[in-house]
Symmetry: C2
Subunit: 302 residues, 2 copies
């Protein structure tokens, strides 16, 4: 059993871990660290945490983490470098550290930079869970129920630490799998980061057209669904794009080539190019059908 669980960043993700761990009796005490004093006060008021420490110039952050035997870094992905530097003075070889960042290579690089090499007791993780709302008020004790959690240990990570973190997530009701950090970042560049950039780019372009021609008033439900992710938090997605740019940029170039291929099939206007365009769209639809069937199969097993 965990004696003192420290949650760094008591927002939707971190707050939900605290509530879920408490509900399932995984820990004696929960300490919260947060940069936002209001959110911290709210977390205390709701009983999500037992003690709260502010991230400030007085080093209260380290005081909160000190003596914890389990630390979950649940901050936005872009600040992991600063978190590691703040944790370094109180880093304990006896404790387990894990995080919830959506990009894994950059977190691992930040740990390497701070500690010389990735600490054996740090297990990089990524719960695939999100919601429209944010902050501790949105946190829920069943937030991770049947959600996928990917752990991306490096060659330096202790297998025993990986097992403990895996058990922790399984106790919260999650479905855990392991992945190489690079492969993780490639997969999410393709299925999440690229679609977000496409949605932002499309709406950015049409937004300028709309100012002159009022095109949005004729856009329907298909457009609403397609652009939903362009309403995501711009700061969070800016950070994700910069942290994972090595994987996203090649996909943006490849996407540009795909669009050129379609444009060229449309331009040729021959019987053959018309057949090839049909084949292209049909292959795409089949690929999406495969994705949908896989999603349904996943639901069936969970």
């Amino acid at each position: 059993m965990i004696q003192k669980l420290c949650i760094v960043g008591v927002g939707l993700m971190g707050g939900s871990i605290a509530k879920a761990a408490r509900k399932r009796g995984l820990c004696w005490e929960i300490v919260g660290v947060d940069a936002d004093p209001e959110n911290l006060a709210r977390a205390l008021e709701l009983g999500v945490i037992d003690n709260g420490f502010e991230v400030n110039a007085f080093g209260d952050f380290a005081k909160g983490a000190e003596g914890s035997d389990w630390v979950v870094i649940a901050t936005p992905a872009g600040v992991s470098g600063r978190i590691f530097r703040d944790l370094k003075p109180v880093w304990s070889a006896e404790a387990i550290y894990t995080d919830v960042g959506s990009i894994k290579q950059s977190v691992i690089w930040a740990a390497e930079q701070t500690f010389g090499k990735v600490p054996a007791n740090f297990v990089p993780g990524h719960p695939i869970a999100g919601a429209e709302r944010s902050g501790v008020d949105a946190a829920s004790e069943d937030f991770y129920l049947e959600k996928k959690v990917i752990l991306t240990p490096t060659s330096a990570t202790a297998p025993q630490a990986v097992r403990l973190v895996e058990d922790f997530w399984v106790s919260l009701g999650a479905l855990v799998s392991l992945m190489e950090p690079l492969h993780h970042d490639q997969v999410f560049a393709a299925t999440s980061h690229l679609p977000h950039v496409l949605a932002y780019a499309l709406v950015h372009m049409l937004g300028e057209m709309d100012e002159q021609e009022e095109i949005f008033q004729y856009a329907g439900a298909g457009f609403r669904d397609f652009t939903r992710i362009a309403s995501s938090n711009p700061q969070m997605w800016r950070d994700i794009c910069l942290l994972n740019s090595r994987q996203i940029i090649p996909l943006l170039n490849a996407m540009g080539e795909e669009l050129q291929q379609v444009a060229s099939l449309m331009e040729q206007n021959s019987v053959e190019s018309a057949e090839n365009l049909l084949l292209y769209f049909a292959e795409a639809r089949n690929a999406r059908q495969r994705f949908i069937e896989q999603s349904l199969a996943d639901l069936g097993t969970s």
Copy 2:
């Protein structure tokens, strides 16, 4: 009151017009013309039409349309040339003709090619309504209730014919507006055709990656929404892309430039480029917010 309403193509769109017109007592008799004998038999069985004529080599199509005082062409957009040629021998100056094609310039060109100039009694139209299902079984008498219908008369179209078609749609419960044919095709290239091509292109590209790396199993709800339109009918969208290629190709090129702009901001990795990337995403989110508010305002007035 319409004496004999002829529906060319008794599918979801045409069948719904027939059912809606009958429910509202707009016509005495409804004649259906269809290339699919099974669908035609089903339309008769359901009482959607009173008489059915098959599109075949014996000219039954013309027999069905002959003597009708109101003809709605509700076939896929790609076949309007053939429809006009088949209708030409029985075209009546006393009747009103309209269509439901989603691209207007190509329909107008097809009419010009067949008749020398666009007939004064042909009113090009586009009801913004669609559904996952197709065929006469999916047709519904309230299908057009509070749906937008755009009419795109040319300079050759008789104002009286436009008024009659407008009244017809209003009687079915639709919200009618007028637009220039070219502007119509540009607006829908931007808000509908381009998003469809993007969704197909993304899924096409990722489908090939998935075969090697099984990336789809980690794709979530955002990806499902974003790619929903890539499950649309490939043949229908091939036809739309070819019919409106003059408007779509420049947008594909512009989209490629947008993606290059984002890639370049990600590549520069400076304080300034990071700020510009944030600004870019924030502008996009604001544009989508504008679209959503407009959609809600539209719902409020309808």
